[in-house]
Amino acid sequence: MTAKPNDNDIVRIDFQFRRELAEKVEGDLASFCYQCGACVGDCPATRYSNRFNPREIMLKVLYGLGDELLGEGSVLWDCVNCYNCHERCPQQVKPVEVIISLKNMLADRGRAPDAVGKVIKTFEESGRTVPYNPAIDKQRARYGLPPLADVPMGEIRKLIEPAADEGGAQ
């Protein structure tokens, strides 16, 4: 009689995680990853880090290991967003886009780093990523430039309100 396999050795794919990721724009592209590693060779974050590896991130997505990617201090924020992986991938997986979709899931869970959250908040409040301050218009005047133009915030607020049928964690 052969020994029963140890239940702990079996990889259990978390399909709920994969379905949630697939709801995000281009989140389902990881399905086409065949783990060739073309993204790794040209990844500056991999070159300068001992924990960031886009091929491993795609593998965790394929296995549905959401817990390893969606915790506090996630490795995903180490991505430099250079788009080399997007350029190199023979399968058009666009690893950087999958990573950004995973960041959307982190944001749904309230887990964006403070520095990232701060810029997002500035945009949501002012329609710009640089906070307004009267010194800006004074500087602009020195070069004969008009004050910064108004952003119609009413329109921006309406646009960034998620629709009920668009998914997300809630």
Binding site: K24, V25, E26, P44, A45, R47, Y48, S49, F52, W77, D78, C79, V80, N81, C82, Y83, N84, H86, E87, K94, I100, S101, K103, N104, L106, A107, A112, P113, A115, V116, V119, I120, F123, G127, R128, T129, V130, Y132, I136, Q139, R140, R142, Y143, G144, L145, L148, A149, D150, V151, P152, E155, I156, K158, L159, I160, E161, P162, A163, E166, G168
Partner: protein
């Protein structure tokens, strides 16, 4: 004059108005008429707001594109980040009709509709394709002979190339040719292709990467760093001081945004170009002014 809608974004108008001044000064001299886009917002940025919610990011970007569609004009951008957001939006909504419909349902809330009729041109390619290198050269009254410029392309101008459609990311030439048109000499250092690291939330990755990059800039003895992205610019201005302190080495090659360099070559006085606000000032340019004074 060829007319284009100008999408200035956030960083250049708010943090670097001298760059905007230089664009508004130089383009009309090259036959480009700048049309301002009333009601534009942040593109939105391809790093922070995109990482919150891609659908909202696309909806705001598509709204910005509809402003130019209303005018029947193509858009030009002066920031690689804005170029990335707007070009990706154009590309994604073109490839995926369902997504386009989803974005248009958002736009319905404000009575707008995205059609996909406006193309996005980065200012460097606008000058290359609509003006041409020769016309740039002819606009120069103060050739920058002997000036060695180490070009930093940055990432989003070139990649992903099938979306950005700017140049070959493995061996681009647009910035080299634009720098040559000013009479200057582009110098390519060994780590020219590295990223500035601004978008990375780790401390170590950007520091070590910038240290490697700046070391090879020092190796080629460049007079200036030729910049085309305002985000990279910050990393190379204040950033060089930070790296010098961290590694106890000296990195001090002044970064200059290309259109300020062009404005200077077209005769704008050094002192009118806002260089005094930089951490590392391109004082090496002053020799071209004193040479003129000596001749006249």
């Amino acid at each position: 004059m060829k007319r284009f809608a100008f999408f200035p974004g956030c960083l250049i108008p708010a943090r670097h108005p001298a760059m905007e001044f230089a664009i508004r000064h130089t383009l009309p001299r090259l036959g480009i008429e700048i049309v301002d886009l009333a009601g534009a917002s942040c593109c939105p940025d391809p790093i922070y707001f995109k990482s919150k919610d891609k659908v909202s990011w696309l909806a705001v970007a598509a709204r910005n594109l509809t402003l130019a569609e209303d005018l029947g004009l193509d858009i030009f951008t002066n920031c690689s980040g804005c170029t990335a957001t707007l070009s990706e939006t154009y590309h994604l909504l073109h490839e995926d009709p369902e997504l386009k419909e989803q974005v248009n349902r958002r736009l319905e809330r404000i009575g707008r509709h995205y059609r996909g009729t406006t193309r996005i041109r980065h200012i460097a390619t606008l000058v290359r394709d609509e003006v041409g290198y020769d016309a740039v050269r002819e606009s120069v009254v103060r050739p920058l002979d002997g000036l060695r410029v180490a070009i930093h392309y940055g990432c989003h101008l070139l990649k992903p190339s099938r979306i950005m459609q700017v140049d070959n990311p493995d061996n681009p030439e647009v910035m080299e040719r634009l720098v040559q048109a000013l009479g200057a000499t582009p110098v390519r250092h060994r780590n020219w292709y590295l990223c500035c690291g601004k978008a990375c939330q780790s401390e170590d990755i950007p520091s070590n990467m910038m240290h490697d990059l700046l070391s090879t800039v020092n190796d080629v003895h460049a007079d200036l760093l030729g910049m085309i992205c305002p985000t990279c610019f910050g990393q190379f201005d204040h950033g060089q001081l930070k790296i010098s302190r961290e590694f106890n080495e000296s990195f001090s090659t002044p970064p200059v945004y290309y259109f300020q360099l062009l404005a200077f070559a077209q005769g704008v006085p050094f002192d009118d170009l806002g260089f005094e606000r930089q951490r590392f000032k391109p004082d090496c340019l002053r020799r071209f002014e004193s040479a003129e004074a000596a001749v006249s």
